[in-house]
């Protein structure tokens, strides 16, 4: 048995050692003579609606559009997508990412929601020297202490959410905040970011409570809110998924809006509004990375997406399309999929596609910058079309939307 394990270890080492070089297609500039994109995300649990299988569809759309754009001039016609369910578990994400890079010849991994899983994949990307665009996770550690040469962070992070919602709501009169957050890493991270943003904008956090996670009963906090002194202008909820649905339902039950306590949501996706119904969230403000009905350009893509999936895209779907497109464009420009060359191609690049407005791939920490939006859920009578639930109050310019590069980021892996 022991001898078997040793042999297995040796094989694993060999495979790892060989995976760096080209596998076949000797004269081609592409490993394996083709490009493989790997979408790794939640396909069965709480985050499967906001990204999941439809993000795989978005990546397929990116490949089709790329082929249509370059035709015979494309670097290769052989572009594949593989996908897997990481169940939001760090250990599963770790194994799947290694399999993607080693066994499936994946050149770039996309998406990976759930911060703990996302950070594991960043380590794998660094060890294997292969590219990784994170879209689904919110942790700023991806561009902070866990940043590395092969990892890029797209779409959003906790700083962007807090800075958008916390700062703007405070400047618009919500001076006193009561923050309720789920008692795990994401919630604690959001609470810190929000508190800092509110206080920086001259507001005051009058109370904060860590709620059990998961929970189906938030009434304790909702009863407490109006009794705090001073009375909070707004409850800032950092809950996500089913917890958020529970909290919003109960917020409406206790009629807190009528009692002068508003609601601000830390992180919300279009799919959350759809399942809660806009009526339940009317008037709620939050920060959005992208909105499908913002202008004709977004809408055009959202129409194609709806034709294929039957629903409107969340920002995660659009970001997956954009990330896949940017990767393919970089390979096209470099004529190779060799990771270090692609990283050099991407670093510092200024981009303007329908997702990345005024976009830039920041060299210092690989944060992908773009405009963000302060959004408000419409009143039921304002909703004229299914899925068009939001009005954009304000565009937050790319230069202000994200934090400055963190000193924690020592770009490693070079």
């Amino acid at each position: 048995m022991k001898r078997f394990a040793t042999a297995l270890g040796a094989v694993a080492l060999l495979v790892t050692a060989c995976s760096g070089g080209p596998q076949s297609g000797g004269d081609s500039k592409l490993t394996g003579g083709k490009i493989v994109l790997g979408v790794l995300n939640d396909q069965s649990a709480g985050y499967s609606a906001l990204s999941g299988k439809n993000s795989v569809e978005a990546v397929k759309m990116a490949i089709e559009d790329f082929k249509a754009k370059y035709g015979d001039k494309a670097v290769t016609k052989d572009i594949e997508v593989v996908d897997a369910d990481h169940q939001n578990k760090p250990d599963v994400a770790n194994t799947k990412a290694a399999e993607f890079y080693d066994r499936d010849g994946v050149d770039v991994i996309l998406d990976v929601p759930t911060s703990s899983a996302a950070l594991k994949v960043a380590d794998v990307a660094k060890a294997k020297k292969k590219l990784y665009f994170n879209i689904g996770a919110a942790t700023t550690d991806l561009t902070g202490k866990s940043c590395n040469k092969y990892t890029f962070h797209y779409a959003y992070d906790t700083y962007m959410l807090a800075n958008g919602t916390g700062k703007n709501a405070t400047e618009n009169g919500a001076k006193n905040w009561y923050i309720v957050y789920p008692n795990y890493a994401f919630g604690q991270d959001m609470e810190r970011s929000f508190k800092a943003a509110v206080e920086k904008a001259g507001g005051h956090v009058v109370g904060e409570d860590a709620a059990p996670f998961p929970s189906d009963n938030f009434s304790t906090y909702l009863l407490k809110a109006p009794t705090l002194n001073p009375k909070p202008d707004v409850i800032g909820t950092m809950q996500a998924g089913a917890d958020l649905v529970n909290l919003v339902k109960q917020y409406n039950e206790f009629k807190l809006r009528d009692k002068g306590v508003g609601l601000s949501v830390g992180l919300m996706f279009l799919t959350d509004i759809h399942s809660l119904t806009p009526a339940a969230l009317a008037g709620t403000t939050y920060t959005d990375a992208w909105y499908w009905n913002f202008d004709a350009k977004n809408r055009e893509w959202a129409d194609k997406f709806k034709a294929r999936t039957g629903s409107r895209p969340t920002f995660a779907h659009a970001a997956n399309y954009s990330a896949a497109t940017q990767y393919l464009e970089a390979v096209q420009a470099a004529g190779t999929d060799e990771a270090d060359t692609i990283v050099a191609q991407l670093e510092g690049k200024k981009v303007d596609d329908f997702f990345l407005r005024n976009g830039e791939i920041r060299k210092a920490d690989h944060r992908v910058l773009h405009d963000a939006y302060l959004a408000q859920v419409k009143q039921p009578e304002e909703v004229k079309e299914d899925w068009d639930y939001v009005k954009i109050l304000k565009t937050i310019p790319a230069a202000e939307a994200f934090r400055a590069p963190s000193p924690d980021c020592q770009m490693s892996g070079a």
């Binding site: 709480g46 609606a49 409570d209 009963n217 304790t220 089913a242 649905v245 109960q250 039950e253 399942s275």
Partner: protein
């Protein structure tokens, strides 16, 4: 002080769900000696039943309140006849595993059909206002939930202590062999009692739909707490299950509201299990359970 009473009242409301679910589990365990793990999934089906009736047929909440428990009782009786009663002769662990498997199947079937996003269910308009309870105002729907669950718990208690059926069920619960010796057909009662216990879980699910997220996993975490409630109260003890259900509901709310700040979430979350451990050390049969007589 007012806020304390308000929070306590609110704890009774969340205790309502625990009590209704624990009551069904206790009734089932009492007669069948089956620990029904699928109870949480049935609660979820209750909520989805209300959603489907409203969404597909436009039936109001009141219709669901009656139709869903009846429909689930029928489903429960089918499950009991088809699977559960075949395993009752064996170690109770077999039925525990069977109902655990049923839970996974039911959850995945609902997941495949309705997805994991929560399905929207509106508050019945008649109960969307507030009620003045003298010291404070409270959402009408919550008052209704508490009233309904107390009425049902009292009703079940009356049924068991004041009727012939109840007498048979209690006798069969305590001394199955002796009851049979009196010439009473205990087996006849098993299937309807299982259906009844399942109906209670379905009813709790319908009551949850307007105020909680309706999704395939809504019963998964709750059932673990309900098991703790049943164990603390004493497996098979009707009174114990109901009383402890309400007590745990209130205790969790108190912990969330008044425990030391940095410990709140942790205490609220672990409280039922810590209590369970303490009670088991002190009274292995639970607070109101009787030691089994061999």
């Amino acid at each position: 002080m007012t806020n304390f009473l308000e929070q306590t009242f609110n704890g009774l409301v969340s205790g309502s769900f625990l009590a209704l679910l624990a009551l069904g589990l206790a009734v089932i365990f009492g007669l069948l000696r089956v620990v029904n793990f699928a109870h949480g999934a049935i609660y979820m089906l209750g909520a989805f039943g209300a959603y489907v009736l409203a969404d597909e047929l436009g039936l109001p909440f009141w219709a669901a309140l009656l139709a869903v428990p009846v429909g689930l009782a029928a489903l429960g009786m089918v499950l009991e006849r088809a699977f559960i009663h075949r395993l009752t002769k064996l170690d109770p662990l077999y039925n525990f595993l069977l109902t655990f498997g049923l839970t996974l199947i039911l959850q995945d079937l609902v997941k495949a059909r309705y997805g994991v996003q929560s399905s929207p269910y509106a508050m019945p308009s008649a109960l969307s206002g507030s009620v003045d309870l003298g010291l404070f105002e409270f959402p009408a729907y919550r008052v209704f939930v508490l009233g309904t669950s107390i009425a049902i718990c009292v009703g079940v208690w009356a049924l068991l202590t004041r009727t012939r059926v109840g007498m048979v069920v209690r006798a069969a619960t305590e001394r199955p062999e002796l009851t049979r010796a009196f010439g009473i057909n205990v087996g006849r009662w098993i299937t309807p009692v299982f259906g009844f216990g399942v109906a209670l879980a379905g009813l709790a699910g319908v009551l949850a739909a307007p105020m909680r997220a309706v999704n395939p996993l809504m019963g998964a975490d709750l059932i673990i707490v309900v098991f703790a409630v049943v164990v603390i109260g004493g497996l098979g003890s009707i009174f114990g299950s109901v009383a402890v259900g309400f007590v745990i509901g209130v205790a969790q709310v108190w912990a969330e509201a008044y425990a030391p700040e940095s410990w709140r979430a942790l205490i609220a979350q672990t409280l039922p299990f810590v209590l369970m451990a303490v009670v088991l050390l002190w009274r292995p049969a639970g607070l109101f359970g009787r030691e089994e007589i061999a």
